[in-house]
C-alpha cells in the first residue's frame, strides 16, 4: 500500500465510524427522513472540509446504518422509521399484531445486510458498464422520469386516479418553484421532499385541528399492544448470522431483488421496495411466510437502491440522475463552494472527478463493513429490549413534537418562512392525495422529478 493512500483510508475509517454510530442512533427515531437528515449532515461534512474519501465513507455508512436501525421503530412501533421504511410498514404491523415484532425486525435487518453485500460490488460494476452511455442517459433523463412516474402511479393503490392526480401535483410543484425562483433566485429541494415525506402527518394534524376531521380520529381508549416473549435463534448469546436468520427462499428473493435494484437506479427507492415486495410476495403461497419474506425483501431493497442510486450516477455520470442523487445524496454532486456543478454546461467538480472508480470501491467497502459491524449487532442484540423500552416510555406526542420541530428547523434552514410554507402546502396536499386516493409518497417523489426535469424538457420542445 502506498503512503498516499494511507491518509484517505484513515479518513474513510474515521468518518464511517462516526456516521455508523450517529445514524444507528438516528435510525431508531421514527420519521427521521433520509433527505431531511442525511443530506444536511453530508453537506455539513463537506463544508467543514473533510476530504472526498471521508465524505463518501461518511455518506454510505450513514445510509447503511440508518437503513438497518430504521427497522426498529417500523417493526416494533408501527411507525415508519423514515420514508423508505413505509413500504414494509403493513407487513411489519401485521406481524406485530401476531405478537412477533422482533421477527419482523430480524428479517428486515438481515435482508438489509445481505443487500448491502450484493449491492456494493454490483453498483460499481453497473457504473463501469454505463460509463460509455453516460451522455445518452443524461439526454433521456426527462423522459425516463415521466415514464417511471406514470408506471409507479399506476401500480399504487390509487391506480388511474394516481396517474391523473400527477397533473395537479406536478403543476403545484412547478408553480411553487417558479414563485420561489422569483423571490429567492434559487429553488428548494429539501422542503418539497420533507412535505411529501411527512404528508400523512401534516394531513393528520390539520384533520385533528378541524372539528369535522377530529370526529373520525377519536379513539375510545388506550391502544393495547401485546408483545411476544423474546425469541432468539438457537445459539444463545451468540450473534445471529444474517444468512441463517433468513431461510433459503428468503435469501434467494432478497438477493435477487438486490441484484435487480442495483441496476434500476433511476426509479424511486420507495417504489422499487414496493414493487420487489409485491413480486416476491406473489410467489409465496403461505401467508405467514409471505409476511416475513416481504419484510426482508423490502428492507433489503432500501439498502440496494440507496447504494446503487448513489454510486452509479456518481461514478458513471457525475450528474444527480437518480431520485437518491437528487435528494439525500445531492451534496455529493453539488455543494458550492467545495463541489460544483454547472447545469448549463454539464461541467462538474465533485466526487465524480475527485475519486477514481477503484477509490470509490475501496471506500465503499470500508463504509459498508464498518456500518454493518456497528449497526447489525446493536440492533440484533437489543431489538426486544429496545422495543419494550420504546413502547413503554416513549410517547407518541414526543415523537410528533420532535418531528414537527425538525420540519420547522430544516425548512427555516433551507429557505426561511417561505420554505416552511412550501412544506406545509406540499404536505397537506400530498397527505390528502395519499390518504384519499392512495397516491403514496413514492408517486409524489416521481411527480417532483417530473416537475423539475420533464416539464422544462416539454416546454423546450
Amino acid at each position: 500500500m502506498s503512503a498516499d493512500l494511507l491518509e484517505p483510508i484513515l479518513w474513510a475509517i474515521g468518518m464511517a465510524l462516526l456516521a455508523a454510530v450517529l445514524f444507528t442512533g438516528i435510525g431508531l427515531i421514527s420519521g427521521t427522513d433520509e433527505t431531511a437528515i442525511v443530506a444536511p449532515l453530508a453537506l455539513l461534512v463537506i463544508l467543514i472540509g473533510v476530504p472526498p474519501a471521508g465524505v463518501i465513507a461518511f455518506f454510505l455508512a450513514a445510509i447503511i446504518a440508518k437503513h438497518i436501525s430504521h427497522a426498529v421503530p417500523t417493526t416494533l412501533l408501527g411507525i415508519p422509521g423514515d420514508t423508505t421504511a413505509v413500504p414494509m410498514l403493513r407487513e411489519a404491523q401485521l406481524l406485530r399484531s401476531l405478537g412477533v415484532p422482533h421477527i419482523a425486525l430480524q428479517k428486515a435487518i438481515s435482508g438489509g445486510v445481505i443487500s448491502v453485500i450484493i449491492a456494493i460490488p454490483l453498483s460499481i460494476l453497473f457504473a463501469w458498464v454505463l460509463t460509455p452511455f453516460a451522455e445518452a442517459i443524461g439526454a433521456a433523463a426527462p423522459w425516463i422520469f415521466i415514464a417511471a412516474a406514470v408506471l409507479v402511479a399506476y401500480t399504487s393503490k390509487g391506480k388511474l386516479a394516481a396517474v391523473v392526480a400527477l397533473i395537479p401535483f406536478v403543476l403545484i410543484i412547478v408553480g411553487l418553484q417558479a414563485f420561489i425562483l422569483e423571490q429567492k433566485d434559487a429553488t428548494f429541494t429539501t422542503s418539497f421532499f420533507l412535505g411529501i415525506a411527512t404528508g400523512p402527518l401534516i394531513y393528520d394534524l390539520f384533520s385533528a385541528l378541524s372539528p369535522t376531521g377530529r370526529r373520525s380520529m377519536t379513539q375510545a381508549g388506550k391502544r393495547e399492544f401485546d408483545l411476544a416473549p423474546d425469541v432468539r435463534p438457537a445459539g444463545g448469546a451468540k450473534l445471529p448470522n444474517p444468512f441463517t436468520v433468513l431461510d433459503r427462499q428468503q435469501l434467494a428473493y432478497t438477493g435477487g431483488s438486490a441484484v435487480i435494484t442495483s441496476a434500476t437506479f433511476v426509479f424511486s427507492p420507495v417504489a422499487m421496495a414496493v414493487l420487489m415486495g409485491e413480486i416476491a410476495g406473489s410467489r409465496i403461497k403461505n401467508g405467514f411466510h409471505r409476511l416475513t419474506t416481504v419484510v426482508s425483501v423490502r428492507n433489503g431493497t432500501t439498502e440496494s437502491t440507496y447504494i446503487a442510486e448513489t454510486l452509479i450516477p456518481l461514478i458513471a455520470i457525475g450528474l444527480p440522475l437518480s431520485p437518491m442523487a437528487a435528494g439525500p445524496a445531492a451534496p455529493l454532486f453539488n455543494a458550492p463552494p467545495v463541489y460544483t456543478l454547472d447545469a448549463e454546461t454539464g461541467e462538474t467538480n465533485n466526487l465524480h472527478d475527485l475519486l477514481s472508480t477503484g477509490e470509490f470501491a475501496l471506500f465503499s467497502v470500508i463504509a459498508a463493513v464498518i456500518a454493518i459491524l456497528v449497526a447489525y449487532p446493536f440492533v440484533m442484540r437489543n431489538a426486544h429490549r429496545a422495543a419494550t423500552w420504546v413502547m413503554k416510555s416513549v410517547s407518541h406526542e414526543a415523537i410528533i413534537a420532535g418531528f414537527v420541530a425538525l420540519i420547522c428547523v430544516i425548512c427555516l434552514y433551507e429557505g426561511g418562512l417561505l420554505a416552511l410554507g412550501v412544506t406545509i402546502t406540499v404536505g397537506l396536499i400530498g397527505g390528502l392525495f395519499n390518504r384519499m386516493i392512495g397516491m403514496h409518497a413514492g408517486v409524489q417523489f416521481m411527480g417532483y422529478y417530473v416537475a423539475v426535469l420533464t416539464v422544462p424538457a416539454i416546454l423546450a420542445l
Partner: protein, 137 residues
C-alpha cells in the same frame, strides 16, 4: 376525560399533543435562529448555517425528550404468552385484512421450526383448519 385521537398511526391525547408540539418548536426554532444569527455574523456564513442546523437538530431532540418526560405514552403493553383464544381472534383480524395465513405444515422444515419457536405454529394450524371447515360448510 382526555380526548384520545389517532394521529400518524398511534394514539395521542389532544391536549398533550398541543403541549408537545409547542415545546418542540419552542426549543428547536429559537435554538436554530439564535445560533444561526451568532454563527453567521461572527464567521463563515455557509459553515455557520450548517452549525446552526446541527444545533437546531439537537434542539429538536431536547424538545422531544422534554415532551417525553412530561407526557407518558397512551399504550397498554401486555407482555405475556397470549392465551390461545385471544391469539385466534388476533389471527382472525390479520386474516381479515391480509388473507389466509396458510397452513404452516406446508412449509419447509426449517421454516416450520422458526414458527414453532415463536409459539405460533399450533395457533396457525388451528386457524387454518377452522377456516378450511368454514369454507366447506
Amino acid at each position: 376525560m382526555p380526548q384520545l385521537l389517532e394521529v400518524w398511526n398511534d394514539t395521542v391525547d389532544s391536549k398533550h399533543l398541543v403541549g408537545s408540539i409547542t415545546i418542540g418548536i419552542g426549543v428547536a426554532v429559537p435554538a436554530f435562529l439564535i445560533s444561526d444569527h451568532l454563527f453567521t455574523t461572527t464567521g463563515d456564513a455557509e459553515l455557520g448555517h450548517s452549525y446552526a442546523l446541527l444545533i437546531g437538530i439537537v434542539g429538536c431532540l431536547i424538545g422531544a425528550v422534554i415532551a417525553g418526560i412530561l407526557f407518558k405514552p397512551k399504550r397498554v403493553i401486555t407482555q405475556s404468552q397470549a392465551d390461545t383464544r385471544n391469539r385466534q381472534e388476533v389471527i382472525d383480524e390479520v386474516v381479515e385484512e391480509y388473507g389466509d395465513l396458510g397452513d404452516p405444515r406446508d412449509l419447509k422444515p426449517a421454516v416450520q421450526e422458526e414458527i414453532r419457536a415463536l409459539g405460533l405454529f399450533d395457533a396457525l394450524v388451528d386457524n387454518h383448519e377452522s377456516r378450511a371447515k368454514g369454507t366447506q360448510l
